[in-house]
């Protein structure tokens, strides 16, 4: 048993530190992209996860799903002659996008059936907090006067074969966003499998004795473990 509030017992010296500096959002996105297997069907959540698309190898046959009703979504439309902005074609963030060859369109019930039914291989979401048991909080800060909005976040949380989170490891006030137990309202229970952050990659989940450090960036595992206490 570990006496660390977040991390499972492990040989911290064996965890590789693979970058001299903490990762930028683009670098986190690239690292997420590297772990996505060729041929995967992937949903990228609103916000920073959309950056992952820029780092997927074009020949890997990775297919993007957008929950507003499309497979084989292409990059953002720039409005140029090659990719004009089409008001009928957006991603889940309502930004204009393009269509790749092999695309298909479907309605909302079919789109969420696809997601909830376990047909997507990977979903990448942002988060306010992730717990060591894989609980996800990413839709509501819990502030009493906040207007809540959930969108497809809870559907994505239960549906994907592999759900990973992309976020900074520490909030602006310095507190870890990886927590023993989420204090913000939950999006899903035990649904996150891996967290990609600027400082480290960690595996989480209901069957682990604590978060497991996979790789660190700009900090050694031992130093990070100390910061996470």
């Amino acid at each position: 048993m570990s006496d660390h509030p977040l991390l499972a017992a492990a040989d911290l010296d064996a965890v590789p530190c693979t970058a001299p500096e903490p990762l930028t959002p683009a670098a986190i996105a690239a690292r997420v992209a590297r772990d996505i297997e060729p041929g995967s069907f992937v949903n990228l959540g609103i916000g920073q996860p959309t950056l992952v698309a820029d780092h997927l190898p074009p020949d890997a046959g990775i297919v993007l799903h957008t929950e507003n009703g499309m497979l084989h979504m292409g990059p953002a439309a720039t409005g140029g002659p090659e990719d004009p902005i089409d008001p009928d074609l957006t991603n889940a963030g309502k930004q204009p996008v393009t269509e790749r060859p092999g695309a298909s369109y479907f309605h909302q019930a079919d789109s969420f059936a696809m997601m909830r039914g376990g047909h997507l291989d990977v979903c990448v979401l942002g988060a306010f907090q992730v717990s060591v048991a894989g609980d996800l909080a990413n839709w509501h800060t819990g502030a009493p006067d906040a207007v809540p909005g959930v969108g497809g976040a809870m559907d994505l949380a239960v549906g994907a074969r592999r759900l990973v989170v992309m976020m900074t490891l520490f909030a602006k006030d310095g507190s870890p966003k990886l927590v023993p137990s989420c204090t913000y309202p939950l999006t899903g229970v035990g649904c996150v499998q891996r967290v990609y952050t600027d400082a480290a990659i960690l595996d989480v989940g209901p069957h682990l004795p604590g978060a497991v450090l996979v790789e660190t960036f700009g900090i050694t595992a031992a130093e990070l473990a100390a910061r996470l206490r």
Binding site: H107, A109, A113, R116, V147, G152, M154, D155, L186
Partner: protein, 230 residues
């Protein structure tokens, strides 16, 4: 189950002269399903018509709760809406909803997007209720029955029916068969099955036989009224 009020008029009578004719009988207190994902696929002319028409005390079911000062936002601003059922009211330009919500002047039922779609599908498909894993263990499952299937908790969800659905499609034939365009398809085909009276604005009305039967997305059986809004 949707018990549709069927007009007995000839089959091409579904095409209305204008938006106002198509919406004349929407009653106060109606539950109105409104298509669109943000502005994409939004039946703008029908929502504007609903504002002119004057029905009040409405329950609006839509993915979002209005953008800027037009459309659903204008309907809200006019005080016509008692309750909004949606997945994502909070947007950068949802100031009308935000103000009314904070002032306690509009009720909100927040539903995960997929559950919103599935509840309308259930209404249209004659399903009495369904167990859905989405939201289990979260605040949105509070007060709902939860039951395990296959070792996972599922939330009991009930059908969501409309008195009226307002949707936009790309093209209709005179029988009401519809096709959509790209991601503007979104909620249209589901809402078309889930309301007693379905009103569709379309860019284009074509003759019977002009749509390939293999490509029809919403069969005309679901469509009561069509208005051409190019």
């Amino acid at each position: 189950m949707i018990r549709r009020r069927r007009s007995v008029a000839p089959m091409t009578a579904r095409v209305c002269d204008d938006v106002d004719a198509a919406l004349a009988d929407v009653p106060d207190g109606a539950t109105v399903l409104i298509g669109g994902f943000g502005k994409v696929g939004m039946p703008v002319a029908l929502v504007d018509g609903l504002i002119r028409q004057g029905a009040s005390d409405l329950v609006i079911v839509s993915n979002n709760a209005g953008n800027g000062d037009t459309g659903i936002a204008a309907l809200l601003a006019a005080g016509r809406v008692r309750k909004v059922v949606c997945s994502y009211p909070r947007q950068t330009d949802s100031w009308v909803f935000d103000r009314l919500y904070r002032a306690g002047e509009v009720e909100l039922e927040l539903v995960p997007q997929g559950t919103l779609a599935e509840r309308m599908r259930a209404a249209g498909a004659g399903i009495g209720a369904f167990y859905c894993p989405t939201g289990a263990g979260t605040p949105l499952a509070e007060g709902k029955e939860v039951r395990d299937f296959d070792g996972r908790p599922h939330v009991l969800e009930l059908p969501l029916r409309g008195d009226v659905a307002l949707i936009r499609a790309h093209r209709a034939d005179r029988l009401g068969n519809l096709v959509y365009r790209k991601t503007a398809r979104n909620f249209g085909p589901v809402m078309a099955t889930a309301a007693r009276t379905v009103v569709v604005e379309v860019g284009d009305v074509v003759e019977i036989g002009a749509l390939d039967p293999e490509t029809v997305v919403t069969p005309g059986i679901y469509v009561d009224r069509i208005v051409r809004v190019p």
